[in-house]
């Protein structure tokens, strides 16, 4: 134990929180030490004795009836151990599985294939090359059916019914949903001076983590225990799902998420590949590894967005918003497999306009089955808030233009004022806190708004096209609470378990699962903040269901709001016990004990104290009579509300009038995510989010041609920006502590990816405002800008892509 400097009785001996790596310290990420040395341990690094390898044969067609499958040539290849077909799955009642959105999904196709890339057969072999050879040796005869690649085709009269497997399914409607006050909204529109309209498509994109999905399933025939190493953002949910669906006893299932190489929502769902590897391991009694390739990941796993929005806003001529009305059509692909825990069919779409006072509103939505990949929908986003905020901010700009009011001023008029909180939105959310005007002003000052406007006018006179776009937004982060959010009935709480060892070092486990967010670093900082144990003395473990407390995983920016809160709460429990021990050590009653960071002391005699480490030692060696030994505990946290960060993103661009290419000049970001645990990690999250926002707006999307062939099935076509294109970001901070979170933190991981795209698109449209074009669908590709400049018409990016 280090000797503290001699002190005068009145001076505090509290530790310097920044020095011990507590709250507010930008300590380096501890996990990086192994990642940058190539010492990470990902699912594909797991190698078990006798392990076999699995490969999936995927459908080349988007929509076709399966006439026959001949696997005999595959079975004949030396080294092939198992070939699974849909028929074989059906015999075990495993051809279909439930999705997290209460639909079903084919595990292996039996009757039809419903999207290009769908899983048709599985080959397990001695090595992955043979498994691939096996797939190539399978002969499948298809009878092609007309493919459907957008909601319009899906809803057209006479369209082929994609889900003819479902009883009572007579068309391609997947769901219908509405929220808000229809009549009040109609009245508001009747009173409006101006009605502003906007129609757009938020294109399909893919989270595309660098590590694809995969699993190593290891069923031990002797013990009957199933261990699955897999790429999951939510291992406990998988354990429960396997127990409930496969009817295996839950205590005999162990799910381990080792290091996860990025998730972004892609690794929440349970994919057929996981199920195949589990069944194969059970059938063969050997470990079976499945490592998805990049194309498999891009064409078959959880995508994001693909939503068509048609909305309007009722406005008073002085700039006041009176109401918002919109309809959303969502392209769900072949199976309704959204991995989202809300009771709402369209996720949190109705969080749209939550930062504005819009009076009233009404939203309708319809989901459509199409012959496209299913599932996912949350790409770095709390269940469709990305579409919600994108539409909101595009609509706000269009409305300001229609009214002839400056876009910043229009926001000022309608943003919620600081004294409005907690504020109930017309769609039922309770927005907790914020300082919206301040954030906006910091952003405008940073970019030099007025000056840019002058520069823009001068440039315009010389034929140069400059533009500025703003996006301001709040979003609901941190599902649950348990009243409204659950997965398969399991409430959306989270958990933490903390054990302080005798020497004052500790191990913390949570029910979350880091995939790049830096939990191993930041959770230790929360413990450090609560207990004064240096962050370096706390090791963090997640992802093994045999050891971690039950939790709902990491996505939707929920880790800090929920699991992070649980870390605080468990630390406080530990502190409460340590206080009793301190009273015992200092021989005073507990009421006379005071706490300062790292140390208890006697009220009125501050030189008499016991450090947290001394208390830990005593918990095992010198506990008071009648006290249970040890210093450990756990906490389950059910958040009272979602957390509501706010952000203001401002982007300036220059558009090349001849080629339609646009360059980003500056990006200013003002983020208020409440108290920042590790400012460096927060900034990393914001920069990553802004990069993805830029990507969405500029290049990154998936589309389909009329035959249902996916465009964007590899990294030549699915463009992810490199350091070369990605603009620089100027970050600013405002702190409005979350009123209901133990340390005042809010979610932040997704803000920039959610709010950012509109700022880029608004900037490009501002640059070509003279054309009167209201919308160019993302990504705002050069040819789309050029077309807008030529035709002065809106440019749709909806599939099918037109070839030829």
């Amino acid at each position: 134990m280090t000797q503290t400097a001699p002190v005068t009785p009145s001076s505090s001996q509290a530790l310097d929180e920044i020095k011990i790596g507590g709250l507010g310290s930008s300590r380096l990420r501890v996990e990086d030490s192994r990642f940058i040395r190539g010492r990470g341990n990902y699912t594909d690094d797991v190698k078990l004795p006798g392990m076999l390898y699995m490969e999936i044969l995927r459908s080349p067609l988007a929509h076709a009836r399966i006439i026959s499958i001949d696997t005999s040539r595959a079975w004949a290849i030396p080294g092939v151990r198992l070939v699974l077909t849909g028929e074989m799955m059906a015999q075990r009642n495993l051809a279909w599985m439930p999705t997290l959105s209460y639909d079903t999904q084919a595990v292996l196709a039996t009757d039809k294939v419903r999207f290009q890339g769908q899983e048709v057969c599985v080959v397990v072999a001695d090595d992955p090359y043979i498994a691939k050879d096996g797939c190539e040796a399978i002969d499948v005869e298809y009878e092609p059916l007309p493919p459907i690649v957008n909601p319009e085709q899906s809803a057209a009269p006479g369209a082929p019914v994609i889900r003819d497997d479902k009883q009572g399914q007579v068309d391609n409607t997947c769901y219908r949903w509405e929220v808000g006050d229809r009549e009040a909204t109609e009245r508001a529109f009747a009173e409006a001076d101006v009605v502003s309209k906007l129609k757009l498509h938020y294109p399909r994109s893919h989270p595309s983590p660098i590590e694809c999905c995969g699993s190593v399933a290891d069923f031990d025939p002797a013990t009957k225990k199933l261990t699955v190493y897999m790429t999951s953002q939510a291992p406990h949910i998988v354990r429960s799902a396997v127990a409930l669906i496969a009817e295996l006893p839950e205590h005999m299932i162990r799910i381990v998420s080792p290091d996860v190489g990025g998730g972004f929502g892609n690794k929440v769902p349970v994919y057929p590949g996981y199920v195949h590897s589990i069944l194969a391991s059970i059938l063969l009694g050997k470990p079976v590894k499945w490592t998805e390739d990049k194309t498999g990941n891009l064409i078959s796993t959880g995508f994001g967005r693909d939503m068509y929005l048609d909305g309007e806003m009722a406005l008073r001529s002085d700039g006041k918003i009176l109401a918002v009305r919109m309809h959303a059509d969502t392209d769900q692909g072949a199976f309704f497999a959204d991995a989202q825990p809300s009771k709402f069919k369209i996720g949190l779409m109705h969080s749209t306009f939550a930062c504005y006072n819009i009076g009233t509103g009404y939203i309708t939505a319809q989901g459509h089955y199409t012959n496209k990949a299913p599932g996912g929908v949350a790409y770095r986003c709390s269940f469709r808030v990305t579409e919600a905020m994108f539409f909101q901010e595009r609509m706000v700009q269009a409305a300001a233009d229609d009214l002839g009011i400056d876009q910043a001023e229009f926001r000022r008029v309608n943003l919620l004022p600081d004294d409005a909180f907690p504020a109930r939105t017309p769609f039922g959310f309770l927005v907790d806190s914020g300082q919206y005007d301040k954030c906006l002003q910091i952003g405008l000052d940073a970019i030099g708004y007025e000056e840019f406007r002058r520069e823009q006018a001068a440039a315009r006179a010389k034929g140069r096209l400059l533009g500025i776009g703003i996006s301001t937004m709040t979003e609901p982060l941190g599902a649950g609470n348990s009243r409204e959010y659950d997965i398969l009935g399991i409430k959306m709480f989270d958990s933490a378990e903390l054990r302080v060892h005798l020497t004052g070092k500790a191990i913390l486990r949570t029910g979350a699962k880091t995939q790049g967010q830096g939990h191993e670093t930041t959770w230790a900082q929360i413990v450090s903040h609560e207990l004064g144990i240096p962050a370096a003395d706390v090791v963090v473990e997640e992802g093994d269901t045999d050891t971690a407390p039950y939790g709902m995983g990491t996505y939707a920016s929920r880790s800090t709001p929920v699991a992070g809160a649980a870390v605080s709460m468990v630390s406080r429990k530990i502190r409460a016990k340590a206080r009793k021990i301190a009273a015992h050590l200092l021989e005073v009653s507990e009421e006379d004990i005071e706490w300062e960071l790292g140390r208890f002391f006697v009220r009125g005699a501050p030189e008499r104290g016991a450090t947290i480490q001394e208390c830990a030692m005593a918990a095992y060696s010198n506990m008071p009579d009648g006290m249970e030994p040890g210093l450990e505990g756990n906490a389950y946290y059910d958040p009272p509300n979602l957390t509501w960060p706010f952000a203001c993103y401002i982007v300036t661009v220059e558009v090349d009038p001849e080629t339609g290419v646009w360059d980003v000049l500056r990006v200013v970001a003002v983020d208020d995510c409440g108290v920042r645990i590790n400012p460096m990690i927060v900034e990393g999250q914001i920069m990553g989010g802004l990069t993805e926002a830029y990507a969405m707006s500029n290049m990154q999307f998936q589309t389909y041609d009329a035959e249902g062939n996916i465009v964007g099935s590899n990294y030549m076509d699915y463009l992810i920006p490199t350091a070369w294109e990605t603009p620089g970001f100027e970050l600013h901070e405002v702190v409005t502590p979350c009123p209901h979170h133990p340390i005042g933190a809010k979610g932040v991981g997704e803000c920039a990816a959610v709010g950012g795209p509109a700022a880029f698109v608004n900037a490009v449209l501002d640059a070509i405002a003279h054309t009167g074009v209201r919308n160019i669908d993302m990504p705002v590709l050069p040819d789309r800008v050029w077309t807008a400049l030529q035709t002065h018409q809106d440019v749709s990016g909806a599939p099918p892509v037109r070839n030829g």
């Binding site: 490969e55 992955p128 090359y129 498994a131 691939k132 050879d133 190539e136 390739d293 990049k294 194309t295 001849e658 080629t659 339609g660 290419v661 290049m699 589309t703 465009v711 030549m716 076509d717 463009l719 920006p721 490199t722 070369w724 294109e725 590709l781 050069p782 040819d783 050029w786 077309t787 892509v801 037109r802 070839n803 030829g804």
Partner: protein, 288 residues
């Protein structure tokens, strides 16, 4: 990803290579930088029986000028070498402009110019450069060396004029007859992307007149396209706004683009014309 089974040979000399090609014929594929072949193999679009890796053959990684100014680029000269070449920076503006626009730094450090031209991808940039410069390929086979003009080398997408037992030894750019200028302009969606449209422009001027011109187009047809008429419109007179505009129109007309997710056919044609205007009229072409 897992390619089909293949054999692997690594000859140490051109003679050894020659006998291997003789032995395997059609079953063999030459491996140079591997930046096109390996991706095709891992996707199983290509499944050669035998890979013949030429990287161990000494003396092929050159680029040098003959005394008369003829430039020779050997089969193992990497993109990155050309990108950093002082010789090209000083005397070959079109090549110097094109090299850094090929792919990304990782690909450039392995891939070769000769391999790129052999690959005959209509979106490959080097084949346009060679066309615009009026260059040729030198093939080496059991019957000795032969010369194949750039315009005859590619037979269509991913098909070239080499015999199975031939290797492309080098790419050759003839000596200039006048003062060289030119540039390469490429519209790409992102670094490392193939061209939405690319235009190679090579001029030689003497006494204020254009004495030779070459224009070739990338990504706007089933092969790289030599826009011969467009180039011809520039020759025999001083470069002028009129001749450039004429060339721009003719080049756009020579393009045979298809609309796809990179852009419509009309857009690609427009970009071709725009690049010619930019490359020639606005001094965006670098003088040697």
């Amino acid at each position: 990803m897992y390619p089909s089974k293949f054999g692997y040979e690594a000859p140490r000399s051109l003679d050894e290579l020659s006998s291997l090609l003789n032995r395997y014929g059609d079953d063999a594929k030459i491996l140079a930088g591997g930046q096109s072949l390996v991706p095709m193999m891992k996707l199983r679009f290509a499944a050669p029986e035998v890979l013949v890796d030429i990287n161990g053959i000494p003396g092929l990684d050159y680029h040098r000028e003959d005394p008369d100014g003829t430039l020779r680029v050997g089969a193992l000269c990497r993109h990155v070498t050309l990108e950093r070449s002082a010789l090209l920076a000083a005397k070959h503006p079109l090549m110097a402009a094109a090299a850094p626009l090929i792919a990304d730094p990782m690909v450039r450090s392995r891939g070769t110019m000769v391999g790129s031209i052999c690959h005959s991808d209509p979106q490959g940039d080097w084949a346009s450069v060679l066309l615009a410069l009026g260059g040729h390929m030198v093939a080496l086979g059991p019957r000795g060396r032969r010369t194949i003009a750039a315009g005859h080398f590619s037979l269509g997408p991913f098909q070239n004029a080499l015999q199975p037992d031939e290797i492309a030894l080098e790419a050759v750019i003839p000596a200039p007859t006048g003062q060289r200028s030119g540039t390469y302009l490429k519209l790409e969606r992102r670094v490392g992307d193939f061209a939405t449209a690319g235009v190679a422009m090579a001029l030689e001027t003497s006494d204020g007149r254009v004495v030779r011109a070459g224009i070739a187009l990338t990504g706007v047809g089933p092969s790289n396209i030599a826009a011969t008429e467009a180039a011809q419109a520039l020759v025999g007179k001083p470069l002028s706004e009129e001749s450039i505009e004429q060339a721009a129109q003719l080049a756009a007309a020579a393009a045979q683009p298809r609309g796809d997710h990179r852009g419509s056919a009309a857009f690609k044609r427009h970009v071709v014309a725009t690049f010619i205007r930019r490359g020639l009229a606005r001094g965006e072409a670098v003088a040697a």
